[in-house]
């Protein structure tokens, strides 16, 4: 079932109100809730963060829109608060980071499969394999720093394997730019996909830049510095696929439509009834905001908003494991590299290309992503566990096989 953007009016702006008590709801459970609930909370925080980021940029360039932007932005601020505060306090920054990477893998994989433009689908698959590798690196850190298993967070939905190695993801800025869609001919789903992934990646970047200094371990601090740099590259990539010729108002309408689309996707898949009510409430809020912005658009631009928006939303983002698709992409495209706006096999990249030179410099004193995962393979219960033969009821104390996890084989010093 889909949603008609023009017939569903949502909550009027003057009814979109909060209290401090209302903003701070009980969080989801790190142990009991489905991993995709965390995925949705993290993504929707990113979507709202982008709403504020765009709104401020727009206000700085459009004095006549400032009052309307400020009014809607206040609601978005409080929506973001309520969503972000659903993250529980017992979920550490590193655990939330692992959630961020699961978002980047599963949501980007869903988007890549529903993107009608083959070039842009390739862009998403390219970025996907890099975030896939980040999950592996952070999982190694979680194991080796804290003795914990990242699969307790990703709940077996997402493989924890090397992707395109982070060490080779460092590119010259010119190789992070992509070709944009054409605002006049691109389908609506293409525009929504681009906004969704750009928002998610931007928030990922900002989160790593915020929490990186909280870590004590120098490899952890370096790893956050390294992966934050890649997330900055990803923001560069994903914002470059959006047509820069869209008007400010066109972009505002698309942002609001994208927020509707994303909350609606959350409603379609959420299993936690308490969290689902929040998605439903904010879907109605966003529909109200969209109506208001469409009216401003039509008033100022003197054209029908249906020129840029479809009545029916595309298929929702699929909050299910995309393992098979990710494995296929990994097998076929892990060796792709960017050269300008195009993708080539690693063997075709000249040894003196801007990206090769840049990577050589930035990695010249070592690679934290290589250090953290040196010899690391994900095992159920961490590399310390040596879990072979430890199925429930299979062994007795005193009879267990000796563990074989390589984390227990320390090098002589």
């Amino acid at each position: 079932m889909t949603l008609d953007l023009f017939k569903t009016k949502g909550t009027p702006l003057d009814k979109q109100v909060f209290t401090w008590r209302d903003l701070v709801q009980p969080p989801y459970s790190k142990l009991d809730d489905d991993a995709f609930t965390r995925v949705r909370v993290i993504l929707m925080n990113g979507i709202e963060s982008e709403a504020l980021r765009f709104s401020h940029a727009c206000a700085r360039m459009n004095s006549k829109l400032q009052a309307a932007l400020a009014a809607i932005r206040r609601v978005e601020q409080h929506q973001q608060t309520m969503v972000n505060w659903l993250n529980p306090a017992d979920q550490s920054p590193l655990e939330t980071t692992i959630g961020f990477e699961q978002v980047a893998i599963e949501v980007t994989a869903s988007v890549a499969q529903h993107e009608p433009d083959p070039y842009l689908a390739q862009v998403y698959r390219f970025g996907l394999l890099e975030d896939f590798d980040h999950l592996y690196r952070y999982s190694a850190l979680y194991d080796r720093l804290e003795g914990k298993d990242a699969n307790t967070l990703v709940q077996s939905y997402t493989d924890i394997l090397p992707g395109r190695p982070t060490v080779v993801e460092h590119r010259a800025p010119i190789d992070d730019l992509r070709r944009p869609y054409d605002r006049a001919t691109a389908q609506a789903v293409t525009k929504l996909n681009a906004l969704t992934i750009m928002a998610g990646e931007h928030q990922t970047h900002d989160y790593y830049m915020t929490v990186g200094p909280f870590f004590s371990d120098p490899t952890a601090r370096q790893l956050y510095a390294e992966i934050a740099s890649i997330e900055e590259q990803h923001v560069t990539q994903y914002e470059s696929i959006i047509d820069a010729n869209e008007t400010w108002l066109e972009k505002w309408v698309l942002h609001e439509a994208n927020e509707v689309y994303n909350y609606w996707s959350c409603v379609e898949f959420e299993q936690n009834p308490r969290i689902k009510k929040i998605w439903e409430r904010f879907l109605d809020y966003e529909l109200g905001q969209l109506q208001a912005v469409c009216a401003i658009f039509e008033d100022i631009e003197r054209r029908d908003v249906q020129e840029i928006l479809p009545a029916k939303l595309p298929e929702p983002i699929q909050y299910v494991s995309q393992r098979a698709f990710v494995r296929e992409v990994l097998e076929q495209e892990v060796d792709l590299r960017a050269q300008g706006t195009e993708f080539v096999d690693a063997s075709e990249l000249p040894k003196d290309s801007p990206s090769t030179q840049y990577a050589r410099q930035i990695n010249s004193e070592g690679s934290p992503s290589q250090t953290v995962a040196a010899g690391w393979v994900w095992e159920p219960g961490t590399e310390l566990s040596g879990t072979a033969g430890l199925q429930p009821g299979a062994t007795r104390v005193g009879e267990a096989a000796q563990p074989t996890g390589n984390g227990n084989s320390r090098s002589p010093r």
Partner: protein, 236 residues
């Protein structure tokens, strides 16, 4: 032994800036709070949120499908707690070993072999608990509610141990926190195993408890020796 107690430029106390301190006090004397009440007001909010009644998490269903009694679930929760703690403890000793390699030791302090031995015993306790949980039909990969709460309670420990600015003495004091908790929790686990008729486990846990008592005593001794070295005073 490197120390961090030499006189420097620590600016956190008011005595380092007497004039600014006087101005601060002048300001606060002329101020009245904007609302009445005291710190108990925060407690009221905490209680209000507590009444919602949501736990941090629950126990997973039995991995074998065989139902558990309430007592068995409590036991499983505490087994999961110790498993997670011992596994994290192994990583703490990994970090302590790197601290030893960076700083060396002091007369009466730990030798590398001491730390390696304790690290191995923490790891053996972890694998013992894996076997116990598997034997009782539990899932060795699950994070139980108690495991999660203990992880939150001890989350500052790796932060101390992996910080390049802390020395071996400071890190041993962080390890002491872990060993103190570990001793009490192993005692409880052994008592629970006995009460639930798990004699074989109780015997194995008693042996682990003895090793933990030895860890605690050794850490205490090293810390005292370190303080003696720092102060130049014999400490008994």
């Amino acid at each position: 032994m490197k120390t961090q107690t030499s006189e420097g430029i620590n600016r956190t106390g008011m005595a380092t800036s007497p004039q600014l301190a006087r101005e601060m006090l002048e300001g606060t004397k002329s101020t009245i709070p904007s609302s009445e009440g005291d710190a108990d007001d925060l407690a009221l909010v905490r209680i209000e949120y507590t009444k919602v009644g949501l736990p941090v998490g629950t126990m997973p269903p039995p991995a074998t499908g065989k139902p558990m009694t309430d007592a068995e679930r409590v036991f499983m929760d505490k087994l999961g707690e110790r498993l997670a703690f011992e596994r994290a403890g192994t990583r703490l000793y990994d970090a302590l070993l790197s601290k030893f390699d960076a700083y060396g030791t002091w007369p009466g302090g730990p030798e590398r072999a001491d730390l390696e031995e304790i690290r191995e015993e923490e790891h053996e306790h972890f694998t013992l608990l894996q076997s116990a949980i598997a034997q009782l039909g539990g899932d060795i990969t699950a994070v139980t509610p108690s495991a999660n709460v203990h992880a939150v309670a001890s989350k500052g420990l790796p932060a101390v141990l992996t910080d390049p600015r802390t020395n071996l003495q400071q890190c041993l004091e962080a390890i002491l926190v872990a060993e103190l908790v570990d001793n009490d929790c192993w005692e409880n686990l052994t008592t629970l195993a006995t009460a639930l008729g798990q004699e074989e486990l109780a015997t194995a846990f008693t042996a682990a408890l003895e090793e933990e008592r030895d860890h605690l005593e050794r850490v205490r001794t090293w810390i005292r020796a370190g303080l003696s070295e720092l102060t130049g005073e014999p400490l008994t």
